[in-house]
Symmetry: C2
């Protein structure tokens, strides 16, 4: 093992050292600073924000003001139930923690950080009710920027290009600081100069997932070779998770890697696929197998069910919406059409021809779906027919090819509800906390859409407060 002991001299120190500068890390830093700790944030890339800045800005809240305003019945218990239905091997107490605090954390972003949300709630796949807020520009940046402003306002230092080389563990089994490489240039693990930073209270790991770590993810799922695209930023890799395991952290659910069902093979990375598919076509349109022209899935099932269904048909499926669907969604379709990934057709026949779908079959499928909309009941796949849904009859029609990409890694470090890292003997590792995608257990086998930000902010804040409450060792 390559765990290392205390250095002879420390180069610098802080009460709380936060590794990672995305949602979880920034929330943790703010929480720790606000209860009086000195805090240092370390990010490995050139810019702050990690993978969070490419997030879609969707965040779920159970029992929110907006739900009450719209007469939507919801509760933390129902959110808990939805998360367990999708994830089935989630750690219940972690799920409960996120579900119970989801509304408060959205309020915190609005009231304390000044994050602006749209006035409508979305119902994403796997959720029983509309409960998802979307930031004004539909982007994680809308939350990362206010977090960074607050960090600056509070006088917390954020240092970039700092790579976590080792967690420094003492003979008593507690974490005393970190060895880093300053001036690191991704992805060269040998770049930069070594430096030892003492953490008087604790270290918080908020280093994100491993969706773009090809060797690491391919061990857990050998199908996810370099040929499989990802929606994640390049820096979404596993080094810090591995360092945590080297000091004895237990891991959980590492082989559960989420494929997004709303990505297109006709563009790199995330692109416009998720906006069109997730917010327009899935709720207000249909998805068909081009070979048969038939639907094959509840378009609002959870991500795992939908992605597996697409992978099972073995080739890209086609998601379709009409002009009414676009209106109902409140989305700007022009953004989606720009790069030719979403295409516009004057008739359903033209759409069928373009995607090589048997036209008669597609007509039948759409007409059957329209009858479900009229009767408010999907008799084939039990898709919930959302308020405002209309039959697919108003041109223009829009289509996209969909094929899953690696989006999120459910597995990670085992934590408890205090965000303490748990070791292989089922005990907390002293002075080590973790939050966000680097942890596992909250989402089990399948994370629902709009629960990553909630998870990161809830557990980031818990980690920050608990780290600040540790008694300094020196």
């Amino acid at each position: 093992m390559s765990a290392i002991g205390l250095p002879k001299t420390w180069n610098e120190q802080a009460d709380v050292v936060v590794v990672g500068s995305g949602f979880a890390g920034l929330a943790a830093a703010i929480a720790a600073k606000n209860v009086g700790s000195s805090v240092l944030i370390l990010g490995k890339m050139k810019a702050c924000g990690g993978n969070s800045i490419v997030s879609d800005g969707c965040i779920a809240a159970a029992s929110s003001t907006l739900q009450r305003k719209n007469g939507v019945q919801d509760s933390p218990e129902l959110l808990h139930e939805d998360m367990l239905r999708a994830g089935f091997i989630n750690h219940h107490e972690l799920v409960r923690t996120v579900a119970e605090r989801s509304n408060a954390v959205v309020q915190w972003t609005a009231d304390y950080l000044g994050v602006k949300y749209r006035e409508r709630l979305e119902q994403l796949g796997g959720h029983s009710v509309p409960r998802t807020y979307i930031t004004y520009n539909q982007s994680g940046r809308d939350i990362v920027r206010p977090l960074l402003s607050k960090v600056k306002e509070l006088g917390i230092e954020v240092r970039t290009r700092v790579y976590l080389n080792k967690l420094i563990i003492d003979a008593d089994g507690s974490i005393k600081g970190v060895k880093v490489h300053e001036g690191y240039i991704f992805p060269d693990a040998e770049s930069g100069s070594p430096k030892y930073i003492k953490a008087r209270n604790a270290v918080i790991l908020a280093t994100g997932g491993y969706g773009n770590d090809i060797p690491f993810r391919a061990i857990q799922n050998p199908r996810l070779t370099e040929d499989v695209d990802s929606t994640n930023k390049p820096g979404t890799t596993a080094e810090a998770l591995i360092e945590a395991m080297k000091v004895g952290a237990a891991s959980v659910h590492l082989s559960w890697i989420q494929m997004g069902p709303w990505t297109s093979p006709d563009e790199k990375g995330t692109g416009v696929g998720p906006i069109f598919a997730s917010l327009i076509a899935f709720p207000y349109g249909v998805v068909v197998d081009p070979a048969t022209g038939r639907r094959f899935i509840n378009e609002l099932a959870d991500r795992r069910i939908r992605a597996d269904a697409i992978l099972n048909i073995g080739k890209p499926c086609i998601a379709i919406a009409d002009a009414d669907g676009v209106i109902q969604s409140g989305q700007n379709i022009h953004r989606c059409l720009k790069k030719g990934v979403v295409r516009r057709f004057d008739t359903m026949e033209e759409l069928a021809t373009a995607y090589k779908i048997p036209h008669e079959k597609l007509k039948e499928t759409v007409s059957r779906y329209n009858s479900y909309v009229a009767n408010q009941k999907d008799e084939e796949f039990e898709k919930p027919i959302l308020k405002g849904s209309k039959p697919l009859v108003h041109p223009p029609y829009y289509g996209i090819r969909l094929w899953p990409k690696v989006h999120y890694t459910m597995g990670g470090i085992l934590i408890n509800t205090k965000a303490q890292v748990i070791n292989l003997c089922y005990q907390p590792i002293k002075r080590l906390y973790a939050a966000g995608e680097v942890t596992g257990g909250v989402h089990g086998a399948c994370r629902l859409g709009s629960l990553a930000i909630a998870d990161c902010l809830v557990f980031g804040r818990i980690a920050g407060m608990n780290a600040a409450a540790e008694k300094p060792w020196i």
Copy 2:
């Protein structure tokens, strides 16, 4: 971390120290001894044989003599394909190693150990062809005993009640021996006296799965609480796997825990369920949901698909066979009837009444199934209609209630095709080998029936030979 360095004095030594006394450990010990190493086998329980002695004695071989005799077309490639279809996240190169050596290893047990097999091959769920040998008494003991005889004949010492407390890792990252507790009494980790045993060449971990380790398995799958029964022996726990992780071993697929689809809630542990369901009712009968009287699954699908389908209906299903099925199976039904777990009925109506199945629906189901047998094609679930299958018309009829139990843990230590243990930096840990259920990757998300023994013996022998070939460090 609790990894420990070298002791001041070693209490004893051997070239190769094998931890575990089941299929993998015994095969490893024999292989190492046969190339000239001194070998010591350490078992933690009172008796040798581990969980292997409760195995069903089924072992798959691709391209076997018995297949050629019966005109069955098979190949290592086809077995490889079957394993990947079921497991989908298996490590291909490990699968290939088992598939290519499966026939040779069965021959080795017959020729070298004198294991006696029945003259017929079974086709178990998920296999494309009949390729499974069964030992004469349908028990793992039929292989464990000859292995132990050979161990004795070769003069290898087997010591029981010896608990692995620590793997001893040197500053150069190589494993130099083990700290054990001699006189250990399961499950008291503090019992026995500490002893240091030097391994001049290498240590081989062959300590089995964690199917009965409630805290460990419940972290990976919180549904598997103590209320969920297991077919495994009490000693099937994770301590050695955890010790390997403490010295830096990478783990893989830990959250994939197999539920056997052929166990009955009307008996503890394994019982007679697997014999009746797996060898009689699944191949030659039907499985129905008692609420509907309908089949709901290909009775010869892989274990994961079948167990998930039963869990999905939410209550025990009923497996049914008739007198002809029993004859076709070549099984002794009286063994199954003894404890009242399998029940005998003179008419299908009596069976329906006993299990509260709507009789008319069941009659329809059976008659539809009989037409599939007549046409050699299951039009609903694509179950392969086996040679010798007959319509279900000959009383008496037999039934059993089935509900899944924890049977096998696919996850474990990451190894390469040399059976070397791989660490978190993707490098072999020097002088540390592993084989059998303690390892992960061979079976991916779902182990097919009759591939555990093949895996254990193939990788046990590889580990033994490679450990023996290491250059002694002293």
